[in-house]
């Protein structure tokens, strides 16, 4: 019996905050393939440019671990500084930007030499990092200062600061690089910022009938490459908002697992995956029909997710 499918197979790599492990899941079937032990409290993760290596922030070990994707063996580590949580890799494949919450700095690590090349002073409790697709801007959000800090990678200094709503978490550039979206967890809002002027153009305050507004806490945000749609994880509201980029209006709320943190697409953009911290599972969403098709138990406190085409 042979099936021919047009979708690409993909593998999901999910950090389990409480299990100190990495869950490896087949994206199409949603089957948990295996669980690999990691350092303490693993959170953010990302592939190297060639996808041969996987970097994982082990927050409580104050390090970023390097895994060989083929063998899933730990092959090294990066000097991340204290309590690394979220990080991003510059499109040049060479610089990794990581926020150090306790020290109010962003550390830049050279992936070739595996050395920290500079530290950039930012606001209190730096959190989210995003890099524009053209590599011209790296932004960092600070949770207590409530700002977006615009870092110019050319000289690794902060050039501008944009004040946003309380407790900014994640940031995401639009595919065309003209807009930056920032979620504010405590304010329950999404800011749409003009990259050219660094000004907030508009804000969306999420409202869900029957859900207390205090529970609507936007965290992870993901832009669809069609440059029309944005997906926003709403934390303890247990929903993912589908947002129209142009109108900044919610077109649909999708009910997922509890305390939804982060989001990722399958490489063919057919599926959207969410990590749900409290219900200990991931939800799989069919992107075309915008329906939640499956939830898969992966381990305790799933947090970050990275997807690789097979």
């Amino acid at each position: 019996m042979v099936f021919v499918t047009i979708s690409f197979a993909d593998t999901l790599y999910i950090t389990l905050e409480k299990d100190n492990a990495l869950a490896v899941v087949d994206g199409e079937s949603g089957k948990l393939i295996k669980t690999v032990p990691l350092g303490q409290r693993p959170r953010g993760l990302a592939f190297s440019k060639d996808q041969a290596l996987l970097y994982v922030a082990a927050s409580d070990d104050d390090t970023i671990q390097i895994l060989d994707v083929a063998s899933l063996n730990i092959v090294g580590e990066l000097p991340s500084g204290e309590d690394p949580e979220l990080f991003r890799i510059h499109p040049n494949g060479q610089w990794l930007y990581v926020s150090n919450e306790d020290d109010n700095i962003v550390t830049v690590i050279d992936l070739q030499s595996k050395e920290a090349i500079t530290e950039i002073a930012v606001g209190v409790e730096p959190e989210g990092i995003a890099v524009s697709h053209d590599g011209k801007w790296v932004v960092n959000t600070s949770e207590t200062t409530n700002m977006v800090h615009w870092i110019d990678p050319a000289d690794q200094t902060v050039k501008e600061n944009t004040l946003v709503d309380p407790r900014p978490r994640a940031a995401e550039f639009s595919v065309d690089g003209q807009l930056l979206f920032v979620t504010s967890e405590i304010a329950g809002s999404l800011s749409r910022i003009d990259v050219l002027t660094k000004q907030v153009l508009s804000k969306l305050h999420f409202k869900i009938a029957g859900v207390d507004k205090e529970l609507i806490q936007p965290v992870g945000v993901l832009a669809h490459p069609n440059n029309k749609t944005l997906f926003v994880a709403l934390g303890p509201a247990n929903r993912v908002a589908v947002v129209d980029i142009k109108t900044m209006a919610v077109t649909k709320y999708l009910l997922v697992g509890q305390r939804v943190w982060n989001l990722a697409f399958s490489p063919d953009l057919k599926r959207l995956y969410t990590t749900n911290g409290v219900s200990n599972d991931i939800s799989i969403i069919d992107v075309e029909s915008l329906k939640v098709t499956k939830s898969v138990r992966v381990g305790r406190y799933p947090w970050g997710i990275a997807v690789k085409a097979e």
């Binding site: 309590d83 919450e101 306790d102 109010n104 002073a121 606001g123 209190v124 409790e125 949770e143 207590t144 200062t145 409530n146 700002m147 800090h149 200094t157 902060v158 050039k159 600061n161 004040l163 709503d165 309380p166 407790r167 967890e185 405590i186 304010a187 329950g188 207390d212 507004k213 205090e214 529970l215 806490q217 303890p236």
Partner: protein
């Protein structure tokens, strides 16, 4: 005589920080012309109280309660300030036992201080409130849970950062209701604060349909550490009940109740399971970072007054940044507007109740080494926000602020 004093260590820490800030500014804005620095001067007033007899030597007596939270808040504000052009300064005044706090407060007002954080007793705060209003200064209460201050004695320029006794008692009652532990045995001390907490407990019991099956006053004035095993079983014998509620704010006997009651029952109230604004075991919603930053600075864990003081400084910082003004009237208006919200590591935004200026916030229910629950639970419904199921709600409050 009022002793004016800023602890040298703090001073050094603060100065060091300022130097660092200037450095940051130079580094970050080397290529940018920036708005000149605007100074925001804040003051912290501590009324020293006689030290109560210690139950044990386990917990050191804190000499820097509150002020350390404020110092951390100023650091955080100044990190933000380097991007907004604001600079925050903090002056600490400590009034020794027996000296007149009002004199110290008046001096601060004369020196032009518009933002004053007060760690003083309830009766003092009442006096300061009148002066604050008359001088258009904003006064932040960081330590008194007195319900009177939020009701009959509320004042237009006074803001309560710490949860009221009523909020804390309601948090306990809500969890007990959820557990269906609805028959309470109340043991209270003789202190005025014990009386206030008892009143709050009784109000909550009535509010949530809980029955006080027995009420007893702890009249013993000896040190019970050798005799607790003999006395407490006898003292608690009699009625059947689900939990024993203790009102012993100073901690003179409450710790001895655990495991010594006649019936095997849990202890809640001022000892056992306690309602707190902050607790060292709190780690959710980014609280770990706060705990670490405070511990690094002070070398001990943050407590309720430290946390409330941090909040007070952050309230001013947040309002000044967003209202783009240091005028106390404009800052106050912003604090009470629906645009204001503060992140305080409790998973929800913190805002002010416009009817009595109490900061809305969840209450932590903690045992010495764990957080049992964070109240209110969202199942306690309220037309405005579930946070308003704790403490005096708008229709219940006899504070006349909105009418004044």
């Amino acid at each position: 005589m009022v002793k004016e004093y800023i602890e040298e260590m703090k001073n050094i820490a603060l100065t060091k920080y300022l130097v660092l800030c200037v450095y940051c500014l130079m580094v970050i804005f080397s290529s940018h012309a920036f708005a000149s620095n605007i100074n925001v001067n804040m003051a912290f007033l501590t009324e020293k109280m006689p030290v109560p007899p210690a139950l044990s030597n386990l917990d050191p007596i804190l000499r820097d309660e509150g002020i350390q939270g404020a110092i951390l808040g100023v650091k955080d504000n100044n990190t933000t300030g380097q991007f907004t052009g604001h600079h925050y300064d903090l002056k600490h005044i400590e009034v020794p036992v027996g000296d007149d706090v009002v004199v110290a407060f008046e001096k601060l007002l004369n020196d032009g201080y518009q933002y004053i954080i007060a760690d003083v007793q309830a009766s003092t705060l009442k006096k300061l409130s009148l002066l604050a209003r008359a001088n258009k200064a904003l006064l932040f209460n960081v330590s008194s849970g007195s319900d009177e201050l939020r009701n009959a004695s509320c004042d237009a320029n006074t803001f309560h950062m710490i949860p009221s006794d009523a909020m804390r008692a309601d948090a306990l009652a809500q969890l007990m209701l959820k557990k269906r532990w609805k028959n309470w045995f109340l043991v209270k001390g003789k202190d005025a604060k014990d009386h206030n907490f008892t009143q709050a407990i009784k109000r909550s019991a009535k509010r949530f349909g809980i029955k006080l099956v027995e009420e007893k006053t702890w009249n013993f004035d000896h040190d019970a550490r050798r005799t607790a095993q003999a006395e407490i079983p006898v003292f608690t014998q009699g009625a059947n009940y689900d939990v024993l509620v203790v009102a012993d704010v100073k901690g003179l006997f409450g710790e001895y109740l655990t495991m010594n009651t006649w019936l095997p029952r849990p202890i809640i109230g001022t000892q056992g399971l306690v309602p707190r604004a902050w607790h060292r075991t709190h780690e959710r919603w980014g609280a770990v970072q706060m705990q670490n930053r405070f511990y690094k600075q002070v070398g001990r864990w943050m407590n309720d007054v430290d946390y409330s003081s941090w909040l007070a400084v952050r309230v001013v910082g947040e309002a000044v940044t967003r209202a783009k003004s240091i005028n106390s009237g404009e800052v106050k208006n912003f604090m009470l507007s629906d645009k204001f919200s503060l992140a305080g590591f409790k998973g929800v935004k913190l805002t002010f109740r416009d009817w009595n200026h109490q900061l809305r916030q969840p209450v932590l229910l903690a045992t010495p080494r764990s957080i049992v629950s964070v109240l209110p639970h969202k199942e306690f419904l309220h037309p405005r926000t579930y946070l308003d199921t704790l403490g005096y709600d708008k229709p219940e409050s006899n504070c006349e602020l909105l009418k004044k």
